[in-house]
């Protein structure tokens, strides 16, 4: 089902979430993904039969206990791992095509900055690498300095990563993923190493950025509250083998500030997720 411009711009979760399973060139479609790892004497089914449709501009969060294959799935979508079977299409392209034309922005779990480059130079990296690709998104590359200033990093542009706090480093890593205007952002627990206050600020920053850029985001987290605050859709995964257990739409209005956090609908979603997560433990198959 092709989506109308109206839904895209207004991005009303109430409208989009029912279309989680809608197909089309205009989104990310993950179908029938399996991945098995074979170590010396053991075979681990990391992910089993993953099917997921993500529409353009949606913020999708994957949540689940450790070892349930979240990172594996994200790495497959990023083209860092190839699945045993199944396919991923990113806005109608294969993953390798999408990477070739720099449509994929990847934010790893650690900031993973280059220590010999200054903050600005780190953010410039994606513009220097694979220069002659058709460039990301609509070709709207940002000026690294302006982008960093909008990230609140204007004062540290010429510092080296080791001179920054962990939260600042993570923001630089996110700026690096934004600067070349990729079509999809893949983030693997980018805030997991931060304290609660910093996380909160980072979350707000990310949301603002997402709302003004209309990027499609696939985001991994361990935190239920984080998932509810950020997402249009929450994907709950269960371990051994890693499967999608539930896809929960979040029909909460945005912005979801402190007021909403204590509201009943917010809690209702939280409870639903926790129930799904708990099912993993109560009903082992």
């Amino acid at each position: 089902m092709p989506e109308s411009d109206a839904t895209r711009v207004s991005r009303h979760p109430a409208k989009s979430t029912n279309d989680v399973y809608a197909t089309g060139d205009d989104g990310v479609s993950i179908s029938g993904i399996w991945k098995t790892f074979t170590t010396r004497n053991e075979r681990t089914v990391a992910v089993q039969d993953i099917n997921l449709q993500i529409r353009r501009g949606q913020f999708v969060t994957i949540i689940g206990p450790s070892g349930c294959g979240k990172s594996t799935l994200l790495r497959i979508v990023a083209g860092l791992l190839s699945p045993d079977c199944g396919s991923v299409s990113i806005f109608g392209e294969t993953v390798s095509h999408a990477a070739e034309s720099k449509h994929i922005g990847f934010v790893p779990q650690t900031p993973a900055l280059l220590p010999w480059r200054t903050v600005t130079e780190n953010v410039q990296l994606p513009l220097q690498v694979n220069k002659y690709s058709t460039s990301g998104g609509d070709g709207r590359q940002s000026d690294p300095r302006e982008l960093l200033e909008s990230f609140g990093l204007g004062a540290v542009l010429d510092r080296r990563p080791h001179e920054l706090s962990g939260g600042m480093q993570q923001r630089v890593a996110i700026a690096r993923a934004f600067v070349f205007d990729p079509m999809i952002l893949l983030m693997d627990e980018p805030f997991s190493a931060l304290d609660e206050f910093t996380r909160e600020a980072q979350r707000r920053g990310l949301l603002e950025l997402w709302q003004s850029n209309q990027k499609t985001v696939l985001f991994i987290t361990h935190s239920v509250a984080e998932a509810v605050e950020l997402s249009d859709v929450i994907v709950v995964m269960s371990p051994q083998p890693g499967r999608i257990q539930a896809v929960i739409p979040v029909d909460l209005p945005r912005p979801r500030g402190n007021l909403v956090e204590n509201s009943d609908p917010f809690h209702a979603v939280e409870v639903a997720i926790r129930r799904e997560l708990r099912r993993n433990w109560n009903q082992p198959e």
Partner: protein
Amino acid sequence: MTSNSGGDLRSAQVNAGRDRWRALNIQLWVPPLVGFGLIVVVWQLYAVHNPYVIPTVFQIVDQFRTQPSLYWHDMLVTLREAVVGASCGMAAAFLFAVLMSHVRVLERALMPLVVVLNVTPIVAIAPGLVIAFGFGFTPKYIIAGVIVFFPFLINSLVGLRSPDPEVLDVFTTLHASWWEVLWRLELPSSLPYLFAAARICLPLSLIGAVVAEFSAAGQTTGLGSLIETAASQANLKIVYASVVVLALLGVSVTFVVVMLQRRLLSWHSSSWTRSQ
């Protein structure tokens, strides 16, 4: 206000840094100077009573005063042999390391050969190389190069594999070419390892050059030849003056590497202030 306090903080840090630097400098220079002076005194005392074992300090200094151009010229020859040989050897080792780290089959094919080369005493092939290539620079270059090849190769391999896998992931999702990964990630990441290796390799190449000169009996240039000729005439003064020049040469070469390292690796923890 905030910027003011920030400025104060920064100048305080600078002052603290300067003080520490001064303290460090004294701690750094006085003990080795005292140790060195002690050795000179002991040497002199011993030499005065045993003139057939070692020359006195004054005799060595006298050598430099009376014929500086002899030592200067021979030093330049040995330095050239060592530096050219080491540069070629290190460049070749790095190229090999790049190939081996990108093509696994090559690593498996070449590693045993390299290990054999490493366990062979290079001194033993020096006379053969002199027969093959004559008294010119070629055999010296080869020996100086071969002697640094293995340590530099091993360090390069470790360095090229040192980047954090998550950084590599970022490069992969950007579809960086192998060349871009090498140039923008692997090479800078390996610089600390390459400098550590160079500090070992350049003094090693001096050994290689001197050994090569020893093997070319009848040659007239280079500190090794000077030592050999002087030794055959039992001229201890020239022998030890040459040794002193060689030691100074080793120190200067290491110093240059360390300075370059400070310059290029300010981002790396190895070149931050080493307090305590």
